[in-house]
């Protein structure tokens, strides 16, 4: 299967980060990595990512706070939270910061992959919808212009 989404994996645990990156690359995604919040914010400023996988505990920032920062750089980026510390408080915080999904470590890669594909599909559909709106706008504007021009000439 060929996937062409761009994914940013943010985790200070090198093993998890690398394993996820390799597994996702094998699925056809373009994957970039960041080991802390600062690097993640810098990379999301410089590049476009469709989706970010964010670890809950990062050395310099809490994962939920990073979600808010990533929303500022790329508002439509889908975000998946990972945590090794399941609690209702964490889940509520993730929902409040608009995480699109919440996964517990150890991760079941097949389930994560299915979620990523679903989120990217939703993103694609949303983009197609906005493009349709834009095409409608262009068509309407051109018709108005042509009508006005023909009245004046």
């Amino acid at each position: 299967m060929v996937n062409n989404g761009r994914i940013l994996v943010i985790d200070d645990d090198k093993n998890i980060r690398k394993t996820l990156a390799i597994a996702l690359e094998l699925e056809g995604f373009f994957v970039d990595e960041a080991e802390n919040g600062k690097e993640a914010i810098a990379k999301s400023h410089a590049n476009f990512y469709n989706l970010a996988i964010v670890d809950w505990r990062l050395p310099d920032i809490e994962g939920t706070k990073l979600l808010g920062k990533l929303k500022e750089t790329t508002p439509k980026m889908a975000k998946i939270m990972l945590t090794g510390y399941p609690s209702m408080t964490n889940a509520i915080a993730a929902v409040n910061e608009r995480a699109d999904a919440f996964f517990l470590k150890p991760i079941d890669f097949e389930v994560l992959l299915a979620k990523i594909i679903e989120l990217l599909k939703q993103q694609k559909e949303a983009r197609a919808f906005s493009e349709n709106l834009m095409v409608n706008f262009i068509e309407t504007r051109v018709k108005e212009i042509v009508r006005t021009e023909s009245k004046t000439s």
Partner: protein, 116 residues
């Protein structure tokens, strides 16, 4: 400045700029430019003002976003500072004049006649 600004380059710049709107809106714009504004995408140099006017009519103030993208593309190709020009059409015209001047100026290295 290495590139000579021609129809193909201007078309490419505008095409890349319009890509920011998405593939379908881009195709729609090229279609209506040709159909209703009689602007041929392969002869843009002679229609620079007409295409800007068409964009302004379609997008209103929103055209400034697209114009910024066109200027950015032009800057990437030519490396020229494009501040101070009133419009994208002015930028293109001015850069074309510059390249034409450079092309027609006599380079002292090549001005000596070769002795056979």
């Amino acid at each position: 400045m290495s590139e000579i600004i021609n129809d193909e380059i201007v078309c490419d710049i505008i095409d890349k700029g319009l890509s920011a709107l998405g593939e379908s809106p881009k195709q729609a714009i090229w279609y209506y430019l040709e159909k209703d504004f009689k602007i041929n995408r392969y002869h843009l140099l002679e229609n620079l003002d007409a295409i800007e006017k068409a964009f302004q009519m379609i997008f209103g103030l929103g055209y400034s976003f697209l114009e910024g993208l066109f200027r950015q593309q032009l800057h990437e190709i030519t490396g020229e500072d494009l501040q101070g020009y009133e419009s994208f059409a002015d930028c293109v015209r001015s850069l074309r004049m510059k390249t034409e001047l450079v092309e027609h100026s006599v380079d002292p290295c090549f001005s000596q006649q070769t002795v056979e």
